[in-house]
Amino acid sequence: AEDGPIKVGFVGGLTGACAALVEDELNAVRMGVDELNAAGGILGRQVELVVRDSQTKPDEGAKQSRELIVGEDIDLLTGVCSSSVMLAMTAVSKELKVPFYSAIGSTQKANVEAYQPYFWQVQANATMEAVAAAEYVAKKPEWRRIVPMGFDYEWGHSSVDAFTTHLKKLRPEIEITDPIFPKVGEANMAPYITAALAKQPDAIFAAVFGGGLASLIKQGQGYGMFERSNLVTLLTVDALQSMGDAMPKERVFGVARAPFFAIEDSEDARAFIAHYRSKYGEYPTDWSINGYDGLMFYAAAAEAAGSVEPDALMKAVHEITFDGLRGNALKVRAFDGQMNAPSYVGEVSFEDGYDFAIMKNVEVYAGEALMWPEETIQAARDAAK
Amino acid sequence: MTQLRSDLILTARGLRKTYGQFVALNDVNFDLRGGEKHALIGPNGAGKSTFISCVAGQLPGVEGAVLFRGRDIGSLRPHQLAHRGIGRTFQISRTFLQMTVLENMTAAYVIAADSWTSLRRRVLARQQDKAANMLRIIGLSQRAHERVLDLPLGERKRLEFGMALAGDPDLLLLDEPTAGMSIKERHHLMDFVAERIDATGKTLLFVEHDIDVVLKIASRVTVMVRGGILVEGTPAEIAANKEVQAVYLGEAH
C-alpha cells in the first residue's frame, strides 16, 4: 500500500531466553515510532508497529515473519535476538524480499555464509566485539597469559576464535591457553573457574552472558578470581544492573554494545536517555539504544530512497551515512550488510549517582577497524560452499 | 524304565526357588506323563503358582532342571516355550482388557501362527475366522464384540483358556482356572476343559482349590505343602490320605 501506514513487523523473543533483551529493544522502538509519527512519520506516512512473539524459537520466528509479510504486508522486519531465530528469519526475508535488520542478534554467520541482500545489522557483530576485546587486551602489557572461555555453542566458539586470532596477531608473544567451554546457560561455573584459575592467567576472556555470566562473577569471587586474575567479558547495561552490588569493585573489564554512560557527550543521546528514563523509569540498555538507532537508520534510509520499496530502500541503506546516538558517520557495508558500529570496552567501576556499576575509561573502537575485510569474508563464503 | 521315561512329557528335578530368605520351592521332583490330567493342590502359599511359573519360564533364578519332552527348557523365555507347545493361564486372569473378545482370540491365533509381523488384511481375516471358530467352541460367540473389561470373571477365564488353546499346546498349565466362579460355572468350564483334553490327547496340569472339581476331573493329583511335594496319587488315594486331610482338607486344623 503506497499511501497507508508503513508497517514495521517486530518479531521478537518476548518469551523465552531473549525476553529481557527484546523487551528493552521493543520499548525503545515503541518510543521511536511515536517520535517519528509525532514528527509526521516516514515519507509523510505514519509508522505502524506490528508485534509478534517468536518465543525465541526459530520455527516460530520464521512462521511469524512469514505471516506478517504475507498477511500484514509489512515493509520491514526486525526484532530478532537469538542467532538461530535470526538465521531462520533472514531466510524468510530473502525468500520474500522484505528488508530485515537485526539490532540484537549478532552472529556473523548472517553476514557471511547466510548473507542475503535484504539484510543488515546495526550493531557490531559478535566477531567485531571479540576483536575489540583483543585490541583492548593487547594494550595491557602486564597481561602475559590469557585463558579464553566461551559458552559451548556457535557464539562462544566464534568469539573465542576471533579473540584468539586477533590477539595473537597483535601480540605474538602473548600466551593464550586452550579455551574452556562451559555448557550454555550453566549455572554452576565453579568447576570451570577452578580449571581456568589453575592455569594462573593474568586475565580471563569470557564469551558468556546472562545467568552464566552472573554465576561466573559471583562464584568467581569465592575463588579469589579478582585477586588472582582479571576478567574481560561482555557487559551490557542490563548485566551491570542485574549484578548490582555483587559486581567486584575492580579488575573486571567489559565489552559493551551501546552503554548509555559512554555516549552521553552527544546532545541527541542525552535527550534520548532522558526521554527514555522519563517514559520507562529506567536507564536505556544497549538493546534499547541499538533498537532505537536501528529504527532511525531505517527512517533515514527510507527518506533518502524516497520509498520503502525493498530494492530502492536497500540501495539507500548501503549508501547513506547516518548520525545516530552512537556517533556519526555510521554506514552499512553493501558487501555483507554490516554497519560500522562501534564497540565499547572499559573498566568496571562504581560511580556516584548509580546504584549499579558502570564502566570508566571506556575506549571506543570504531567499527571499520573491527570488521573483517571483504577478502576474508569472501574466502569464508567460498569455504562454506 | 526307558519306556516309562519316554511317555514323560514334563520332568522337574531338584527345583528350588527362594525369595530372599524365604524358600518358596524346596527341591521339587515332579514327573508328568503325556495325556494326564494332573491336579496340583495344597494350602495357600504352598508354592503351586511358583511351580507353574517355573515351568512356564517366568521366574529368574530357579535352581534345578525342567525337562520338556526330554529337553532342558530351564533357560527358555516364556514366548519360546509357547512355541514349543506349552500354553498357560494365570491365577489372576490375564487378557487384553481393552480389546474385544474376538480381538483377544485373534491376537492369540496371530501370535500362535507367528504371523504378527504381517500387515496384510488377509492374514488377519484368516486368523479371525479361526478365532471366531474357537469362540463358538468355548461358547463366547455372543460376546465377540464386547470389550473383555465388560465381561464377568467366569467368561474372562473361559476366554483365557480358549486363548491358551490357540497355540495348540501339548501341555496346558492352568493356575486356578475356576477361582472366583460359581459352582455351576466351575463344573461347566472344567468339564469342557477335560473334554477338550481328552479329545485332543493333550496333557493338562492344573492348580485347583475346589476339591470336588479336582476329584471329578483329575486323573492324578499332587499335593504340595510348604514348597515341597507331600504326596502324589490317584484322586481316590488323595481323598483318603490322612496327612492330606490334616494339612489341606482341614479336618483337624
Binding site: P191, G222, S242, G244, D245 | -
Partner: protein, 290 residues
C-alpha cells in the same frame, strides 16, 4: 586441582540433591511426576529475592529467614494447587496428572515474568558468607559449604522425620500400601496433600538457597527440572538415598568432566543416566507373581 574439583562436585551434588529431593519425595508417595518442580524452584528464588531486602539485608539471619519464608509460601501455593486441581484427578491416568503439572509450568512462568519481569535479578550474598577458605593455593569458597550444610540439614531432617516421627511412619506406610493406611483410620488424601506440600517446600527451599550463588531468572524452571529428573532417575525414582547418591554422582562427574572430557560436558550426564538405566535392564526380570 583434583581435590578442589572434587569438593566442587560434592557441593554441586548437594545442590542437586536439594533440587531433586522434593521431586523424588512426591513421586515416591503419590507416583506423580511433578513437572512443575522446576517452576516452584524458580518461584522460591524470586520470592527470596523479594524478601531478602525486607528482612535485615546482608545478614545471615535475614537471608535464611527469607529463604524459609519463600519455601513456606511456595508450599502454600503447592498445597492450594494440589487441593484445587490435582486431587480431582487422582483416579485418572497418571499422564493426565503430568499434563496438569505441565499446565502449571506455563502458568507459573507467565506469573513470574509478569510480576518480576524477564530480566535476571541478583540476590545479594550475606557478607558473612562471602570469601573463601584458602589452603595453600587452593580456594574453597564459603557459600557452597553453606549450601552443603543446608543440604545436610535437609537430609538429616528428612531422615529424622521419615524414620522417627509418626508423620514419617504414615508417609512410609502410605508408600507401602496406601489403601491399608486408610483402613487404619489414616486420612491418606491428607497425607498426600502434606507430602505434596513438603515437596513444594523443598523445591522453594532449593531455589532460595541457590539464589545468591548465580542469578535469578525466569528460565530456571526448565534447566532445573531436567537436572532434577536426571538425579532422580540415576538414584531410582522415589528413593531418597538414591537421590542423594545420584546427586553426588552427577555433581562429581560434572566437575571431573571439566578436567577430563571438557567437550562432553553437555552429554556426559545423559550418558550416565542412559548407562544407569540400561544397566538396570540387564538380567532377567521376573514375570508376574501369579
Amino acid at each position: 586441582m583434583i581435590l578442589v574439583q572434587l569438593v566442587n562436585g560434592l557441593m554441586e551434588g548437594m545442590m542437586l540433591f536439594l533440587i531433586a529431593s522434593g521431586l523424588t519425595l512426591i513421586f515416591g508417595v503419590s507416583r506423580i511426576i511433578n513437572f512443575a518442580h522446576g517452576s516452584l524452584y524458580m518461584l522460591g528464588a524470586f520470592l527470596t529475592w523479594q524478601l531478602v531486602p525486607l528482612l535485615a539485608p546482608g545478614t545471615v539471619a535475614g537471608f535464611f529467614g527469607a529463604v524459609l519464608l519463600s519455601a513456606v509460601l511456595v508450599a502454600v501455593i503447592g498445597t492450594i494447587f494440589e487441593m484445587l486441581i490435582l486431587r480431582r484427578i487422582y483416579g485418572a491416568d497418571t499422564l493426565m496428572q503430568l499434563i496438569i503439572t505441565i499446565a502449571l509450568v506455563f502458568i507459573l512462568r507467565d506469573a513470574v515474568r509478569t510480576i518480576w519481569g524477564p530480566n535476571s535479578l541478583s540476590v545479594p550474598m550475606p557478607d558473612a558468607m562471602m570469601g573463601a577458605l584458602v589452603i595453600g593455593d587452593n580456594f574453597f569458597p564459603i557459600f557452597p559449604f553453606v549450601i552443603f550444610g543446608a543440604g545436610l540439614v535437609v537430609v538429616l531432617a528428612m531422615i529424622l522425620v521419615i524414620h522417627f516421627t509418626r508423620a514419617g511412619i504414615l508417609l512410609r506406610a502410605a508408600t507401602d500400601d496406601r489403601g491399608m493406611a486408610s483402613l487404619l483410620g489414616v486420612n491418606e488424601k491428607l497425607v498426600f496433600t502434606l507430602v505434596f506440600a513438603a515437596g513444594c517446600f523443598l523445591a522453594g527451599l532449593a531455589g532460595g538457597m541457590a539464589a545468591p550463588y548465580g542469578d535469578v531468572n525466569y528460565l530456571l524452571d526448565t534447566t532445573v527440572i531436567v537436572s532434577a529428573f536426571i538425579v532422580c532417575v540415576i538414584g531410582g525414582l522415589g528413593n531418597l538415598y538414591g537421590a542423594l547418591a545420584g546427586a553426588m554422582v552427577v555433581g562429581v562427574t560434572k566437575a571431573m568432566g571439566v578436567m577430563f572430557f571438557p567437550r562432553l560436558a553437555m552429554v556426559l550426564i545423559f550418558l550416565i543416566m542412559a548407562a544407569v538405566l540400561v544397566a538396570r535392564s540387564l538380567g532377567r526380570q521376573a514375570g508376574p507373581a501369579r
